[in-house]
């Protein structure tokens, strides 16, 4: 029997442990605050498991290296923060186009530019969605505490395999550096999705880009029994470049639909006291910790208030937000940016006029007191 391991760790370490639990075999990265601990810890842990850790010359090389490693059959990851994440955008699009599973951690700092490296921010929500050029769809996940960082990281690896796509883990500096307890689940306690490999035999024509009926696309390890082409150009079922309008249209639809059509399966969220709530916070990451604190205090005083904590940010779970907030009189989005998730919530609900923003953009964690003060303003009671 496996013994449960309990650790007192930073969020970054929870992410590392989860990646190894999920079967990480290859990591390449370039140091950047506040994600650096992920690289440092993996340089120790990965070779112990027979995996490989590489410090590359920059973030572009890092994401390219993990994409190459993934093609050969590895589960792969890189970790970075804003400036590095910006550098990765072109190759991120390559992984979308070539449908290569990979996990990219962005521990957010304040931006733009070098910004506020050692302070908290949640300013990269829209960049994660739209940073690479062209129409596409992408999965972006987040978490507010270490146990959830662990499970959402495992989810990220699973979804990367399931949908053959890059998955972005968007953490923030507070969650990454805060220390708290983490129980590492026993082996087998969490489901692990392994690479779906083709059953096509050696010598039989293999179509690397011909999805099965269920939309999934089995892979053949690069360097293995099937030789095929991979490209970032629009391509046909053999992976050969094509600009045939039918091929282009079909592939773009496939890339978007395989994710958007599964938004309910991809959506991860937590709800607190939503049943009868008239005021609902919508939040995520470390902001959700403060929001939850306010909810618990006010519930104790009998107020009908609740929290919808989003863990899937993209594809945006609009249906879930609409449904959960249908009875609310006041919806307050708590986040540390100028309203990036706010815009999504406004679009999702029936009446955007009842959606308000409680935010902080100065590099400091939004506190329960901040939220209370902003609520007084919203309610016209002054601070």
């Amino acid at each position: 029997m496996n013994e449960k391991i309990i650790k007192f760790v930073q969020g970054n370490e929870a992410c590392v442990e989860a990646a190894i639990y999920a079967g990480l075999g290859f990591f390449a990265g370039y140091p950047i605050t506040p994600s650096t601990e992920i690289a440092e810890l993996l340089s120790v842990r990965l070779p112990q498991t027979g995996g490989k850790f590489l410090q590359m010359e920059d973030e572009i090389a890092s994401i390219c290296a993990i994409i190459g490693a993934s093609l050969t059959g590895n589960k792969v990851m890189t970790a970075t923060s804003g400036p590095g994440f910006s550098l990765m955008q072109e190759a991120l699009g390559y992984a979308v186009m070539a449908e290569i599973p990979c996990v990219i951690v962005n521990v957010q700092r304040g931006g733009p530019s070098t910004g506020n490296p050692t302070h908290v921010s949640q300013g990269d929500i829209n960049q994660a969605r739209w940073g690479t050029h062209g129409d596409h769809s992408i999965i972006v996940l987040t978490a507010s505490n270490h146990q959830d960082v662990f499970s959402i990281t495992v989810d990220a690896f699973n979804m990367a395999e399931m949908y053959r796509t890059p998955v972005i883990l968007l953490f923030d500096e507070v969650v990454a550096h805060l220390r708290e307890g983490l129980t590492i689940p026993e082996k087998g306690a969490l489901d692990i999705v392994d690479r779906l490999k083709t059953s096509v035999k050696r010598g039989v024509d293999f179509h690397p880009y011909l999805p099965r009926e269920d939309g999934r696309l089995p892979m053949s390890d690069f360097g293995g029994i099937h030789r095929y082409n991979v490209t970032g150009l629009f391509h046909d079922m053999w992976g050969f470049p094509s600009s045939d309008p039918k091929v282009v249209h079909g592939l773009l639809r496939h890339l978007v639909d395989k994710i958007e059509n599964n938004v309910y399966d991809i959506s991860r969220y937590k709800e607190y006291f939503l049943e009868d709530a008239r005021t609902i916070f919508v939040s995520y990451g470390s902001s959700a910790r403060s929001a939850l604190h306010v909810v618990k205090n006010r519930r104790a005083r009998g107020e009908r208030i609740g929290l919808l904590e989003l863990q899937t940010l993209w594809p945006f779970p609009a249906g879930i937000v609409r449904e959960k907030c249908s009875e609310a009189q006041c919806i307050i989005v708590v986040e540390m940016n100028m309203g990036q998730v706010l815009q999504q919530v406004k679009t999702a609900v029936d009446n955007p006029d009842k959606v308000f923003l409680a935010n902080r953009i100065d590099g400091e964690l939004i506190t329960p007191t901040d939220i209370r003060n902003i609520m007084r303003l919203i309610q016209g009671r002054g601070v």
Binding site: S62, A65, N229, T231
Partner: protein
Amino acid sequence: MAIKDYIRERFFPQMWCPGCGHGIILNGLIKAVEELGLNKNDIVMVSGIGCSARISGYLDFHTMHTLHGRALAFATGIKMSRPELNVLVPMGDGDALAIGGNHFIHAARRNIDMTAIVMNNRVYGMTGGQYSPLSGYGTLATTAPYTNIDHPFDVVDLAVAVGATFVARSTTYHIRQLTDLIKKAITHKGFSVVEILSQCPTYYGRKNKEGNAYEMMELMKQTTTPVGSEAKKQNHDLIETGVFVETDKPEYCTEYDKIIERAKKDN
């Protein structure tokens, strides 16, 4: 095996202009692989973006056509994961040394076992004839209408300086030498660089009045000489061809295996 056993006929006719040097390199590369008796299944070819980079699609290996300048970085992930594979990385001059210059010097520094082939036509062919870092001072290009004031790299000197353990140069005129050098580079354990001077009659040739493909290749014959030759001492402007460096240095994947052993022992 016959040449056609190494190509993907489905992909033909190829996209290169008549007389483009890149097709000669494709031919030499196939000959090299054939003469070495390599199994197609053991070869991975990773290319970037450019006319040169299209070479990968025509070959029946495991082929990956990546991003402009990044081929070596993708290849590093593949090679580290499957060190037993032969990894070939053909690149254009812009691909390898402008946008990809950083990856080029670091891959060489690590001495990771792969073969970088720089298909140097001294121009950005694919985008229509702009100058590259290899065009050279005084040349003309669509973005250097008043002559180019950029000084070029010497690919061989650069590769040697940054630690490549096999460095060679040939031209599309010298098809036999080109083939032999690619063979040596593939066999060498470590980071190998083969620069091959190639012709782009469509842009470089036309802009710089070097004539058609035949005349451009004739010029390559006249302006080159075997490394260490008497002719070079007489005429310093001649470009040397042949093998410049062939040394042993710990190879990256092999070294990483030792790291794994150490980590497992310490654990």
